[in-house]
């Protein structure tokens, strides 16, 4: 066990991936000498060379489009999108090419590409640097969408994503990059939790709180605070956003009878909508209250002086929890 920051754990995971398979590449803007704006790729170009850790021209469509070509040639590119808000120039390549090539080729072609996206707000940044676009990808068949919330998962999930034969969009909670956690770099990868699986990160019996990425820490803090008031919240880290680990979710909600979904993304059309709709279908007779959603507002992300109001914090999460008990 080593104590690592999330950024460092991701870095170690990338290093392992590069070591384990010479076909693995890292590409993106400033991933080389600079080591990425969050230092996630720090030192990798020095150790693996410019042929494998590629500083690209400044164009996201080009990054994903050439990654597709490299994958067609047998490589396994890991693309870094510098910030969430800059994934949109690549959206066309992701939606129309990356997601659809396997079907187009009737399975002859795999595109084992990982797109890493530092996401979310809370870092006092300017416009476009605090977005949570995961729902846009979760709606697209052919993509896998996952999110890590803490160092150990960062370390394993990046490696599992690289091993996956399908394209994976990996969301990294940028405001948690410097959070520390224990990482067992010696553990047998076979023992890692599946990339498909959600994980219960705080046990509880009164209500199920579903979240992922940056909201996990907030939700666990909320659960701890609520426990002092005698309310037992079960927090589940979804980890896989598409597909969802419905079994884990259902088992918990059927037990608690109440559910809240929390994310930073706007509530309208966010992942919480899908979860609420699905859970309600699956657990209709178990629900004591509607599944409630707490998240960003359905506005553009505000200037940073307002982000503490925009982002659901411990109080807003607990408010939603309280509301499920008001039904």
């Amino acid at each position: 066990m080593t104590t690592l920051t999330l950024s460092r754990a991701m870095n170690e995971g990338l290093r392992r991936a590069l070591e384990n398979d010479p076909k693995v590449l890292v590409m993106g803007e400033d991933v080389g000498k600079l080591g990425g704006v969050f230092r996630v790729t720090d030192g990798l170009q020095k150790d693996f060379g410019e042929g494998r850790v590629i500083d690209t021209p400044l164009a996201e469509s080009g990054i994903v489009g050439t990654a597709i070509g490299l994958a067609l040639r047998g490589y396994r590119p890991i693309c870094e999108i510098q910030f969430d808000g800059f994934v949109f120039p690549a959206f066309n390549q992701i939606v129309c090419q990356l997601a659809k090539m396997r079907l187009r080729s009737l399975g002859h072609v795999s595109l084992p590409i990982v797109i890493r996206i530092p996401c979310g707000g809370g870092i006092g940044a300017v416009e476009h640097h605090s977005e949570s676009p995961e729902a846009l990808f979760a709606h697209i068949g052919g993509l896998r969408v996952v999110a890590c919330s803490e160092p150990a998962d960062a370390y394993s999930m990046i490696q599992q994503s690289v091993s996956c034969e399908d394209p994976v969009i990996l969301f990294e909670p940028k405001r948690r990059y410097w959070d520390k956690g224990e990482v067992d770099t010696a553990a047998d990868p076979q023992a890692w939790l599946s990339l498909n699986a959600a994980r219960t990160v705080h046990q509880g019996s009164d209500v199920t709180l579903l979240a992922y990425g940056p909201m996990i820490r907030t939700c666990v803090e909320a659960a701890v605070a609520a426990a002092k008031d005698g309310r037992s919240i079960e927090v589940i880290d979804l980890r896989s956003l598409a597909p969802l680990d419905i079994e884990t979710i259902r088992a918990s909600v059927q037990r608690t009878g109440r559910c809240v979904v929390a994310h930073e993304a706007p509530v309208t059309g966010g992942l919480g909508a899908e979860i609420a709709a699905r859970i309600t279908e699956e657990c209709f007779y178990h629900l004591e209250a509607p599944v409630l959603r707490v998240g960003g507002f359905s506005t553009p992300y505000p200037p940073s002086k307002l982000e503490d109001h925009y982002l659901p914090d411990l109080d807003r999460v607990l408010d939603a929890v309280d509301r499920t008990f008001a039904f």
Partner: protein, 377 residues
């Protein structure tokens, strides 16, 4: 001083005259070009003629099939046979080709069964062939996207150490309209910055559906490459020999590590954009007539006749072969089985996927309910 003068305003492009690389005139006369000596035997020219006739035949048959409701749509290559066969025959087996949706002639040269193309236009699959079987990538419909794939693939060739004397290279096809897409320009940047072994083969057929070339550029398209620091050239796209020669040279340069080239094959879309298009709404019949005089097949036929290289028997044999091919293509279309409903859920992911499985199982049960109710779905 650094001033680069461009044209002051839009100008109608002229494709004739000295700027075109040509080895065979519309009248079927062989001409030489100092930079593109072509050492080619009569047998090889006859083989090219055969290719031209056969790919046109595939096209004619497909149009007929579409008219009869057997295909949903078809994008005709009529008029572009020389550009496709010339460039297609310039490729080595290890080279990789990335087509648009109109490269039936290149598909033919790469050895792809035409039935595969029909599958796509019939709506049986989105393509479905294995790009690695014939080193011919899947058709790409979103304009320009494949240029980046090709460039990335070429970067893979570099990483494989497969650039050099005996190297490999990539060719990517796109149209005049495509040159306006951001992706195509980004691919020019990538290719030049990384000096990737990729040849950009633009079939300038003068039209992007109803839009004439002036909507995409006010200077000849081959000059686009200048802005990115690699060579660009314009070839008579209706001249199969010139297309062969320039593509060979550009591919060899790429294989050897000299980086990208842009080839503008100046040609003409003699048919409609697709079978659903009506070009009489936007272009004059006279334009088409003038291009008929430059027909890519007729000039090779004229050459073969004039030089005595081929006799009536040869032409008859090629025609007969074309007839058989047409029949075969037709039959493959008519006997093509419809895909099974549950294949909707296949090939979305490489491994079992919870969401897909959930929907498939429910849909299967739903379909079964009709069977058991004995009500037709």
């Amino acid at each position: 001083m650094a001033v680069d003068s461009g044209a002051a305003g839009p100008q109608r492009l002229e494709g004739t005259g000295g700027e075109l690389i040509q080895l065979l005139t519309p009248e079927g006369e062989r001409v030489e070009h100092p930079d593109y000596p072509l050492d080619i035997s009569t047998e090889e020219i006859k083989a090219l003629f055969r290719d031209l006739v056969l790919v046109r035949r595939i096209d004619t048959e497909a149009i007929a099939l579409q008219r009869q409701g057997e295909l949903g749509i078809w994008a005709s290559l009529l008029g572009q046979e020389a550009a496709q066969v010339g460039s297609g025959r310039a490729l080595g087996p290890k080279d990789m080709a990335f087509p648009t949706y109109r490269e039936h002639g290149v598909a033919w040269c790469r050895g792809l069964d035409p039935a595969k193309l029909l599958e796509l236009f019939r709506g049986v699959s989105h393509g479905g062939w294995d790009p690695n079987e014939h080193n011919f990538h899947l058709y790409t419909i979103v304009i320009g996207s494949q240029t980046l794939h090709a460039t990335g693939y070429a970067m893979g060739i570099q990483r494989d150490g497969a650039v050099g004397e005996d190297g490999e290279a990539v060719i990517v096809y796109f149209g005049d309209g495509a040159t306006s897409q951001g992706d195509v320009n980004e691919s020019f940047i990538w290719a030049s910055v990384f000096n990737a072994p990729v040849v950009f083969f633009c079939q300038n057929n003068q039209w992007a559906i109803s839009e004439p070339l002036e909507r995409q550029s006010r200077i000849p398209l081959y000059q686009r490459a200048r802005g990115f620091g690699f060579p660009g050239l314009r070839v008579d796209g209706n001249d199969v020999l010139a297309c062969l020669a320039v593509t060979r040279k550009a591919m060899q340069a790429a294989r050897e590590g000299q980086g990208p080239t842009l080839i503008e094959a100046f040609t003409y879309r003699m048919g409609a954009h697709t079978t659903t298009d009506d070009p009489t709404r936007y272009r004059l019949a006279a334009e088409l007539e003038s291009w008929k005089l430059k027909d890519p097949l007729e000039r090779v036929r004229a050459y073969l006749v004039r030089t005595g290289a081929a006799d009536a028997d040869f032409f008859a044999a090629v025609d007969a072969e074309a007839g058989e091919l047409g029949t075969r293509v037709r039959k493959s279309c008519l006997t093509m089985p419809d895909p099974q409903p549950l294949t909707i859920f296949e090939n979305v992911y490489s491994e079992p996927n919870a969401q897909v499985a959930y929907e498939r199982d429910r849909f299967a049960a739903y379909l079964d309910s009709f069977d058991s109710e004995e009500v037709g779905a």
